[in-house]
């Protein structure tokens, strides 16, 4: 069997894996290896040709390829090594097993491992839409890959279910390529993605956004011939009298992403029931101390800039762990209080310095106060005019000597 030894092994070569590898190298890890199943680096950003990346990190509006291109340049300069076309099958404490057409099965032993496998899309099976099973039903990401990497147009008359960012971005892409997007249908009474995407992808082209609506039936035998949509009541139940047929040849599903965690699960790493990703502390360390995780495999991010920041933390600490410099200390659990769906990291080790807590609210609200408390003691407080589940919030707190942490978002 082919064997490789390294200090830090990174699983996945998307933006998370690239940033982690560069940071590990900068922290002094000698041999850093990225294992990637695709033939090229960049992950999902290879198909994200639209602008909107890097506003926070580079203060520039980059496209996906431009964004990860900069990280590939940095990785090459830093001397990060890569193993492409290699699918990781198993991860344990200090061993990564992958398969590659040149070497067959490879065993990579590593002092520390970073998981950066990203996420995948929910499909029709995950959300259960009745009707026939014709061709022409795609997830928005699959359509994006077909159009932007493989030069295949997916349809001429399109309905999009779900107002996530990828769906809205595909609405614009399809329109610019000459298709007609009949509607974007969203079951919730608020937008799932970012407001700027609604303005620049839907409003700009006069594409209707139907909130509190869903697709109740798909018609067509060989190919989609249309969908039946309906308004939903407060309990998300379709209202019979509002049913309406829309003729179309394609239905795109933009109904959310789930972290890709088979490897994490099989390694016996503790998974958060809310994010469906591994639980981590502020060092991005999982329940197995030598295994770190970052990016969409941990929780679904809307901005890649946050992914890069969080992944640099993971890479740096993996290098410290590999060098025996990351002490083991007990952590406390971060509680999600009022109107908070989850907080990442889930655990915090009290120590010097500040920690960035990323979190999402449960429901949209206006004029709120965001607080982070240690019991009665308020560590952080900020007013926000608007909060939205589609937009991740951040609070930075000093965690020296704390005994509890609760994040809450309350109306004022």
């Amino acid at each position: 069997m082919y064997e490789i030894k390294c200090n830090v092994c990174v699983v996945g070569g998307g933006p998370a894996g690239l940033a982690a590898a560069v940071a590990a190298k900068k922290e002094g890890a000698e041999k850093v290896l990225i294992v990637e199943r695709d033939e090229s680096l960049g992950g999902i950003l290879q198909q994200c040709i639209h602008p909107g990346f890097g506003l926070k990190l580079f203060n520039e509006e980059l496209t996906g390829p431009e964004y990860f291109g900069r990280f590939i340049d940095e990785a090459e300069k830093a001397g990060v090594e890569t193993l492409l076309g290699s699918m990781v099958l198993e991860v344990s404490e200090n061993l990564v097993t992958c398969i590659n057409s040149e070497y067959g099965v490879c065993e990579i032993s590593a002092d520390a491992v970073v998981l950066a496998m990203g996420c995948r899309e929910r499909t029709r099976a995950n959300i259960v839409i009745p009707g026939t099973r014709p061709a022409g039903v795609y997830t928005a990401g699959t359509a994006q890959r077909l159009m932007n990497r493989q030069n295949e147009m997916v349809g001429k008359k399109v309905v999009i279910l779900g107002s996530g960012d990828i769906g809205m971005i595909m609405a614009r892409r399809l329109t610019l390529e000459g298709a007609k997007v009949e509607a974007v249908v969203e079951i919730m009474d608020f937008l799932a993605g970012l407001t700027r995407n609604r303005v620049q992808c839907l409003d700009d082209f006069g594409i209707p956004l139907l909130l509190s609506h869903t697709v109740v039936d798909i018609k067509g035998n060989d190919r989609v011939e249309g969908v039946v949509i309906a308004e939903v009541d407060e309990k998300k139940k379709p209202i019979e009298s509002t049913k309406k047929f829309i003729e179309c040849d394609t239905l795109l599903l933009s109904v959310g992403l789930i972290p890709e965690n088979e490897l994490t699960n099989n390694a016996g790493i503790k998974i958060s029931p809310v994010t469906k990703g591994p639980e981590v502390n502020q060092f991005m360390q999982t329940s197995i101390p030598s295994v770190f995780a970052c990016g969409n495999v941990v929780h679904v991010n809307d901005l890649v800039d946050n992914v890069s920041a969080e992944s640099a933390t993971a890479g740096k600490n993996a290098a410290l762990f590999a060098a025996g410099k990351l002490e083991k200390k007990d952590a406390i659990k971060v509680e999600a209080g009022e109107n908070v769906r989850y907080v990442c990291p889930q655990n915090v080790v009290p120590c010097d310095g500040k920690v960035d807590l990323y979190f999402r609210v449960m429901k949209p609200n206006k004029n709120v106060k965001i607080t982070v408390c240690d019991g009665e003691n308020v560590l952080f407080s900020r007013k926000a005019i608007k909060v939205n589940p589609g937009e991740m919030e951040k609070a930075t707190v000093a965690v020296d000597g704390i005994s509890a942490l609760t994040v809450a978002v309350k109306e004022v």
Binding site: P65, M147, N148, N151, V199
Partner: protein, 118 residues
């Protein structure tokens, strides 16, 4: 003419109401900060967008290369620019930032490559 503009500069998404005629602004309200005011003024007078698409390329592993307008182009020229991009037939290698169409549709903006294709 009265127009409600959703500011996209930051996630706050303020709704800014602009009133005016023929590119002249009479009143503007609803913004929270100067960046938003600036955005709404431009959006009212001459809205622009970054255009991204793909262009055909041969001699590479993939049939397409991602392209963009280096800077934003007028919104009403988006479809004209798309037609020009569709005519491109490139050959690898192409480097990130290479100019593929100079001054597309007389906008003064270049279409450049977003990616490195070897």
């Amino acid at each position: 003419m009265k127009k409600d503009i959703i500011c996209t500069v930051c996630p706050m998404g303020c709704v800014i109401t602009v009133e005016g005629e023929n590119g002249k602004i009479d009143s503007i309200e609803g913004y929270t900060c100067p960046r938003g005011k600036n955005y709404a003024e431009n959006e009212f007078v001459s809205p622009v967008r970054i255009l991204t698409s793909t262009a055909k390329i041969s001699g590479a592993k993939t049939p397409l290369v991602a392209v963009r307008s280096k800077t934003p182009v007028p919104k009403d020229k988006l479809f004209d620019c798309m037609a020009e991009i569709r005519k491109l037939e490139l050959t690898a290698p192409v480097k990130r930032g290479d100019v593929l169409i100079a001054d597309v549709c007389g906008t003064g903006v270049d279409i450049v490559s977003s990616a490195d294709v070897k």
